[in-house]
């Protein structure tokens, strides 16, 4: 049962509540059972219809739904033997990014991802999933270790962005992110990233320059938060709904723009209303893409690296004028 309900989820959740009450009161009569079944079908239909018509702003709200599963929730579902590895060996361990080794379908994998907290105390510890330079340097350490031990890399993206703070700037936030990009671009093992919630700007992309980019159905990927964009271009942070629409940040938009390779379906009503089935969909997609990348790797590491370079080389929209 969800603890926080978004406005557009409310009619569905209320109907489900009614159904639960009826079930409690139910005397087991045939009539009542039929009524419950009818209402359950109505709830499912309501959800299907409402979720088929989500606005980009509603997608953003879903992507950062407080009940949405986070990196460690997915790892608990799809991985075995996960052991967390910590620290950047230079300054600190940044709990906003978790990393470690695990097995997926028996195969060893190096994994990492942004990690948000579920409550205030956790969020203070995790810094709301907003990493500092030491988080990105820990990530670089993991990238290199994946290469050293021939482990595929799996990155979970879920952050509002890299943390904007004094210490972060003093310790070179820009360089930390930039170096992540450079290291990933030539990493000699298959790499996959999946946006599970918020794909917020450079802090998200830092672990996302990968052979495959997957997005969960209700995840978003954006150059700037709708609110940030609204305050700059609309001069009004309250225009965030309009900004969300203009930014084309939903999983399907990002797929259409040629960036996201596959949109992974979530449980009806969103991942927070069905972690197990969402994680199962994700595991299937990950294993399929890993298999494809293995095939590419079999033709040589250079083939893998060339394909990765081409993937990003092609992204963008450029027009040409004659005679310039």
């Amino acid at each position: 049962m969800t603890s926080k309900v978004l406005e557009f989820e409310r009619p569905i959740v209320e109907l489900e509540g009614k159904i639960r009450e009826l079930k409690l009161l139910s005397s087991g009569s045939q009539e009542m059972a039929e009524e419950i079944e009818r209402l359950e079908e109505k709830a499912r239909q309501l959800q299907r219809e409402r979720f088929a018509a989500l606005t980009p702003w509603e997608q953003v709200q879903l992507a950062k739904h407080p009940d949405r599963p986070y990196t460690l929730d997915y790892l608990a579902e799809i991985a075995t033997e996960f052991l967390e590895l910590r620290g950047d060996r230079a300054y600190a361990d940044d709990p906003a990014i978790v990393a470690g080794m695990c097995r997926i379908g028996g195969r060893p994998v190096l994994t990492l991802g942004h990690q948000k907290g579920r409550n205030t105390k956790e969020n203070l510890f995790r810094n709301f999933g907003m990493a500092r330079p030491e988080g990105y340097r820990k990530a670089q350490r993991m990238f290199r270790m994946a290469e050293q031990f021939h482990l595929p890399l799996l990155a979970f993206i879920d952050t509002a962005g890299a943390y904007p703070g004094i210490g972060a700037e003093e310790r070179g936030q820009s360089e930390a992110i930039a170096t992540c990009l450079e290291v990933l671009s030539t990493l000699r093992v298959p790499t996959i990233s999946v946006v599970i919630g918020e794909g917020g700007s450079g802090g998200a992309l830092a672990i996302g320059l990968t052979d495959r980019i997957l997005m969960l159905e209700h995840a978003v990927y954006s150059v700037i938060s709708p609110r940030g964009c609204a305050s700059i271009l609309w001069k009004d942070p309250e225009a965030e709904q309009a900004a969300a629409t203009q930014l084309k940040l939903t999983a399907h938009d990002v797929h259409r723009l040629g960036i996201c390779d596959e949109v992974v379906p979530e449980a009806p009503g969103g991942a927070h209303r069905g972690l197990a089935s969402t994680a199962a969909n994700l595991r299937e997609a990950l294993q399929r893409h890993l298999g494809e990348l293995d095939g590419l790797l079999a033709r040589g590491t250079d083939a893998l690296l060339a394909a990765r370079y081409d993937k990003f080389r092609r992204i963008g929209h450029v027009e040409r004028v004659a005679g310039a």
């Binding site: 890299a162 943390y163 904007p164 703070g165 004094i166 972060a168 700037e169 003093e170 310790r171 070179g172 936030q173 820009s174 360089e175 992110i177 930039a178 170096t179 990009l181 450079e182 671009s185 030539t186 794909g199 700007s201 450079g202 992309l205 830092a206 996302g208 320059l209 990927y221 954006s222 150059v223 700037i224 940030g228 964009c229 700059i232 271009l233 609309w234 309009a242 900004a243 203009q246 930014l247 084309k248 940040l249 990002v254 723009l257 960036i259 990765r308 370079y309 990003f312 080389r313 992204i315 963008g316 929209h317 450029v318 027009e319 040409r320 004028v321 004659a322 005679g323 310039a324």
Partner: protein
């Protein structure tokens, strides 16, 4: 007393009147110390205030002329133009914003790429045009930056990029974000080939440009007092809710924190880039200027053979 002092005193006699009567464009006022200088003289001084040394905003055309040897600049990629892949509309259409920027800046995009010589060293080079939509990086800028690196590979030359940018261009959304990936991947190829890349960060460089190729230089130069950082100062201040320390994110701060290699004034930059590139690419030291060479020869003749 230097000429600009005299001019200023003359003006100060009736300063209010003088200010009103200053023909626009003929005189420039230093935004740091308020000194008033002949614009022509200021341009000749690379827009560095002769009194306080403040490095004022430099139009890209002047920047190109100040960086490259005369007659060596060959611009490439001028056929590339931005489209409107998202159909972006805020208070106006993205297309219209671009047209306005083209008209007001005289540039076709926020980046100019090409080849030229720096003090005799051939380079593949690119210049951000901050006057074009704040030097923001959309698909075309990303493409051009990528081509600077790819052209360096093709020609086996060093790459040099002078950055001044507010970051990724919002109007191309996640496509702009991905230019960080594309450019950084191109930069990586240069490193693998052992070709040097020198990054010069100018005022201001933030966001997606700072967090990609601009901080990936083998050597990173900054101009005095240039503001360079991932997040803009206003965003940081809003996030942490406290005043930022004096000089925060400025070149001197970056040097102290180990983020850049050197601060070079506009008068030193070109020569220092070339000196390092010669050492990085195995070229001999620059021949001394003719007078120095003559003097050396003369002293060699004068001294008795050992």
């Amino acid at each position: 007393m230097a000429w600009w002092r005299r001019k200023k005193e003359a003006l100060d006699k009736d300063s209010t009147q003088a200010k009103v009567s200053i023909p626009k464009g003929l005189w420039s006022k230093c935004e740091s110390c308020g000194e008033i200088t002949y614009t022509d003289e200021l341009i000749q001084n690379l827009r560095v205030c002769p009194v306080c040394g403040h490095h004022g905003t430099m139009p890209t055309a002047e920047r190109i002329a100040a960086t490259l040897d005369a007659g060596t600049w060959q611009e490439h990629d001028t056929e590339l133009r931005s489209g409107d892949p998202l159909g972006f509309f805020d208070s106006q259409h993205y297309k219209d914003r671009i047209e306005k920027a083209v008209r007001s800046s005289g540039a076709t995009e926020a980046f100019r790429s090409g080849v030229g010589d720096i003090d005799g060293v051939p380079v593949s080079i690119g210049f951000f045009a901050f006057e074009f939509m704040g030097g923001s990086m959309g698909s075309v800028v990303g493409e051009k930056v990528t081509r600077v690196f790819e052209r360096a590979l093709e020609l086996s030359r060093p790459a040099v990029v002078l950055s001044a940018s507010g970051g990724a261009r919002m109007q191309e959304g996640v496509l702009s974000l991905m230019q960080m990936a594309k450019t950084s991947a191109a930069r990586a190829r240069l490193r693998e080939r052992g070709l040097p890349y020198i990054s010069v960060v100018l005022h201001p460089t933030t966001g997606g440009v700072a967090a990609s190729f601009a901080t990936l230089g083998d050597i990173i130069f900054a101009e005095p007092k240039a503001l360079v950082g991932f997040a803009g100062p206003r965003v940081i201040q809003q996030t942490i809710g406290q005043e930022l320390p004096k000089g925060f994110q400025r070149a001197e701060f970056l040097l102290e924190h180990g983020i850049i290699d050197r601060i070079a004034s506009r008068h030193e930059l070109k020569e220092q880039i070339a000196t390092l590139l010669r050492m990085m690419t195995g070229l001999p030291a620059k021949a001394p200027p003719p007078e120095a060479a003559e003097a050396e020869a003369a002293s060699a003749e004068a001294s008795p053979a050992p």
